[in-house]
């Protein structure tokens, strides 16, 4: 025989179970500002990428190399993005923040960028194709490419110190701008990010 109390208990249990199930079923979506900081796992994320690119852009555009070049050449320098090596503990997509940097720098009008190796290859093929198929007045000649004056190279490094479920993650992004004429390093940019990640010891 079920007592009254037990009946109430069952009803309450069933009710809460139903709520839990329904709550679990509905997908919850919330729109976020792109600039909003949301750290989930402590790994490299969009915020880090954005912070690095912003800092680097501000730095590279205000450094003396740019003014020096303009004074001597009377034209904006052209830059090519070289190898950005990921030497960190994570599979970091370096392309996103390089694209960010490139966009900001190009839009500032102070620096020109030359297409990357792969892009150039594709464009050359297109030019070759134009040579045969395009109308003569629209045909683009070969051998008129813009040679870069500087190459942007860099590395991402991490140092991770861990004990139990707690980690200190230290990221360091170094970018170097090297003159293609004489291998001079004209600018070095650096951004450091440090995070303390404490993983929960318990879960449901």
């Amino acid at each position: 025989m079920m007592t009254r109390q037990a009946k109430y208990l069952w009803a309450a249990l069933a009710g809460s179970l139903l709520l839990a199930v329904m709550g679990g079923c509905a997908t919850h979506v919330e729109r976020m500002q792109v600039s909003e900081v949301k750290d989930l796992s402590g790994a490299w994320n969009d915020t880090d990428s954005r912070q690095v690119s912003q800092e680097m852009v501000g730095d590279v555009l205000s450094a003396p190399w740019l003014a020096n070049y303009k004074r001597s050449h009377r034209a904006p320098p052209s830059v090519i993005v070289g190898d950005i090596r990921n030497l960190s503990h994570e599979h970091i997509n370096t392309e996103t923040f390089i694209a960010d940097i490139q966009r900001e720098v190009i839009n500032s009008g102070k620096v020109e960028f030359v297409a990357s190796k792969e892009q150039r290859q594709e464009i050359r093929e297109e030019r070759k194709d134009q040579d045969i198929n395009a109308r003569e007045d629209t045909r683009k000649a070969m051998g008129r490419e813009l040679g870069a004056d500087f190459m942007l190279k860099g590395t991402i490094n991490t140092i991770i110190d861990a004990s139990g479920r707690t980690q200190v993650r230290f990221y360091q992004v170094d970018l170097t701008l090297i003159s293609l004429v004489d291998n001079r390093v004209v600018w070095v940019g650096q951004k450091k990010i440090k995070k303390l990640v404490e993983n929960s010891k318990l879960r449901f």
Binding site: M2, T3, A6, L9, N86, H89, E90, H91, K201, L202
Partner: protein, 450 residues
Amino acid sequence: MPVSFISAFARRVSVLMAAAVCISMVAGCASRQTVLLIQRDLTDREPQQALQRLEKTPVRNTDKVLYRLNEGMLLHLAGRWADSNAAFEAAQRLMEQLAALSIREQGTSLLVNDYTRSYEGEPYDKVMLHVYKALNYLALQQPFDARVEALQLDLQLRSLAEDAGDRDPDLGFGRYLSGMIYEELGEWSDAMIAYRKAYEAYQNHRKDYGVAVPDALKKDLIRLARKEGLRDELEKYQKEFAVTVDAGPPPGSPGSDHGELVWVFNDGLAPYKREHSVFLADPDPNKNRLIRVSLPYLQRRPPQVAEARLSVAGKTVTTQVVEDISAVAFADLEDRMPAITARSLARVIAKKKMEDNAGRDNPLAGALLNVAAVLTEEADTRSWNTLPNNIQLARLPLAPGRYSLEIELLDAGGRVVTTQTLSDIVIRPERKTFISYYWSATLPTPLGAH
């Protein structure tokens, strides 16, 4: 109130158990069948078919990590390296989430069985995950991504060593592979450190797993000690190892006019877990009921092939075992057996207590609960069983070019089991060409032997 509450609780538990009975009976039986069918597919060298079979088997919520590990391994064997890494990446993320202790799962595992706990990966699963991810990236010719795995492996080994008891989780091969990755990238001091750690690991585990320091590693140590100008260390290695090493930069690394073939051989299949069940009558003569205790054991799958002989461009080299996964699995289970047994016995006592309480109120409920308790008592037989039995390695410096590779697979008596040819192997200057090969055939085991 207390009595009725307990009986309500007991009823709830019995419903839960009845559900668990249905699921576990079906799943338990299906899982062993799946293991054997996948073994057959792999023996036939049909990893794609094994994959389809795996995808068709229902996956419990608590087995997601295991599913991803097996999926990743089968995709690796099928040569779908990017997909394999996606699966391993998913497994790794789940493992990280599961590293936190679940109070709910701990509780239900004491009431029902160990299957209600999420499979979070054995220590060596966590190591092998990075090894195979690195091999995938190397096959994709992304050495910098492989380097990321080497760093993660280092982090993982340090974290495992923190909470491992006497048994060091560093098994050697992970470190050795890391060393080769650094070497290919020209990072000599990191390579030297990794080789040194691999050497220490092989020495430490020689007694436990019977894997000797591979000859190739001895050569690497001498070559890099010489290159780095570590005179004392070089002398020590030269005295210790009876191997001859050519002067010059390591083959397949910056500055060398040679490339190198690194052939990784996944031999056989790892042992899988089965269960032993013992049924006892309750020692209390007034109580007419059954007690079941179930414990896991490992089913050995001895590999058909003992070693492989490679011939390419007039050179011949024989593989050496660099990691004995089977031995590690046995040692690991042996270490954990006391805890598994203790938990199993605690469960028997907890279930008896519940049956007593339910039986006082309602004899039928008590009897039903006993049936459920006996049926649900199951040993946890989950393990990453698509791993090979052991991993072997052969390294061969070669001039740049296109080669065809003759592989002779030999049994324990040195007889040729089969001959295979791999063609169109490209060796590039200053680079290593990593090839992961497998032969899963196992020797038949007599019935009941394990």
